[in-house]
Amino acid sequence: MEKFTNLKSIPSYLSLQNIDTDMIIPKQFLKTIKRTGLGKSLFYEMRYDENGKVIEDFILNKVPYNKSRILLAGKNFGCGSSREHAPWALSDFGIKCVISSSFADIFYNNCFKNGILPIKIEEQVVVELSEYSKRKEEIEIDLEKQEIKYGNKIKKFEVDSFKKKCLIEGLDDIALSLEKTSQIDNFEKKIKENSPWLLKND
């Protein structure tokens, strides 16, 4: 997985709350068997009209926000379907950090598996950042220090220590879990003794 350390970008602001994963990447793009190439379809129905023409007015279609790597959004971002195509599309578009006052659980988790940092922070800070985004100036995310820097301000944010480590080091968590194979073996022995009906082939 791509490592995440520092990120500087002009942020884009999507003022909607409850942005669901159907909005982030509509169903017709879930038919792929690949992880890549979804960036052009990100927020498809908001970015393109019925005839596939670009909607100039949409924030991610406007210069300089079309190059944003940081997305600010209303509360409960990523609700709905568990589709990991949502973070794949964000990442493929270039967005590596999403800032909101709250996230849906599955989406939040999926971000970390794809080198994206979701930052959960007080609504007031999101409002301030959204105002700041109008200046079209870069802000900086420092994951190591857990800081968002904009203008002469610094805001601290919280992140789970293990998830942070995985992002910074770009760790493959399957490899980490496979290191615990003997513990999994032992656990299965216990199931075999206590709940033999669960392990079907034993």
Partner: protein, 465 residues
Amino acid sequence: MSKTLYDKIWENHLVHKQDDGTCLIYVDRHLVHEVTSPQAFEGLRLQKRKVRRPELTLAVPDHNVPTTDRSKGIDDEESRIQVETLRKNCKEFGVELFDVNDKRQGIVHIIGPEQGFTQPGTVIVCGDSHTATHGAFGSLAFGIGTSEVEHVLATQTLIQKKSKNLRINVNGDLPKGVTAKDVILKIIGTIGTAGGTGYVVEFAGDVIKNLSMEERMTVCNMTIEAGARAGLIAPDEKTFKYLEGKTMSPKGKNWKKALEFWKTLYSDKDCKFDKEVNIEGKDIEPLVTWGTSPQDVSPITGVVPDPANEKNEDRKMAMERSLEYMGLKANTKISDIKIDKIFIGSCTNGRIEDLRLAADLLKGKKISSNVSAMVVPGSGLVKEQAEKEGLDKIFKDAGFEWREPGCSMCLGMNPDQLKPKERCASTSNRNFEGRQGRGGRTHLVSPGMAIAAAINGHLADVRKI
């Protein structure tokens, strides 16, 4: 120390716990479908990894499959490739598959319980957010992303942190005409789409106890629409009776042993929940959604709410956007809203009881001339049972189309989609913008309310049929 049901299941599945609280938990049952699994199998292949316990995973194509005649295969190339890829992956990695023409094929959350694959006290995952459905059996069941699907395939475990405990008590009795779908819509309308974020929900109270297994599945199914990944209900005699004799249920000595264990699966009397919500059954009416979020609910007797009365600016903006998308004016009577399409099906309401209830209301009647309507049974076995009971005939005689099983118009990945501005009374679970087709307008309802809308051509009160 006294524990909640969730605490008990969690502790039973703990393989390893790090100092920072990150846990490795064991997964007993894994369901796989064609949309969220190809990249996971590909990941295994690239890393030369195997599926650790192929017999604990069950696969079925459901999202992409056509609901019309299947004998000629799938027209849409991408859909066909996805289904073929699932077939190939299952064969290569030794995973059991209920293929498109197998009569056991159906929506992944319908077939799990139907086969007895779903069992109390287990951890069940699937790359699909409606996995919470299986929580109706007192299992910890939740949706995961594709990277996690790969993780489960490779290790039969997941990396997780424990959630908080939320109990939602639905007390008393339900009025006539009010069903499980109304109960869960009421819950979502009460706590909001983010109300359960960070929690595992236990549904309790007399209303929940009195629900059948199928109704409990409807309630648990939409837990994710209230923000919680998992919702569960303590197993009881109904649960055991439902599972007895199912193909994959424990047998003989194992059945007795399992039963003994399942009876310990409840929240201890004096256990502590991080949050509790109480809802009175008598306060629930038949509900419909008017907006583009499942929390936008109104009783059928109500009116479309007026954003002008909303004090929170963000909420007001969201409501205005919803009404514009839905093509609705504030203060319109809900029962005046005309409907073009009726969809009965999905993992929320595609089970045999749903079809029985709908057919019973429909018997001897015709659908309105301005609607087109379809029933998509949740599985091949549901379809077979319904046909045995003659339900298909009732639907067809009334003017419904009777289709092959799958996810269908719940998310419209197959050809079953709404056209722009088409308005649908749907028994599915999401009314998001574009969910059933770009520009399509979804009103979430119970199967009974879908029939009321079908007969009247507008949203209507099921109690008046």
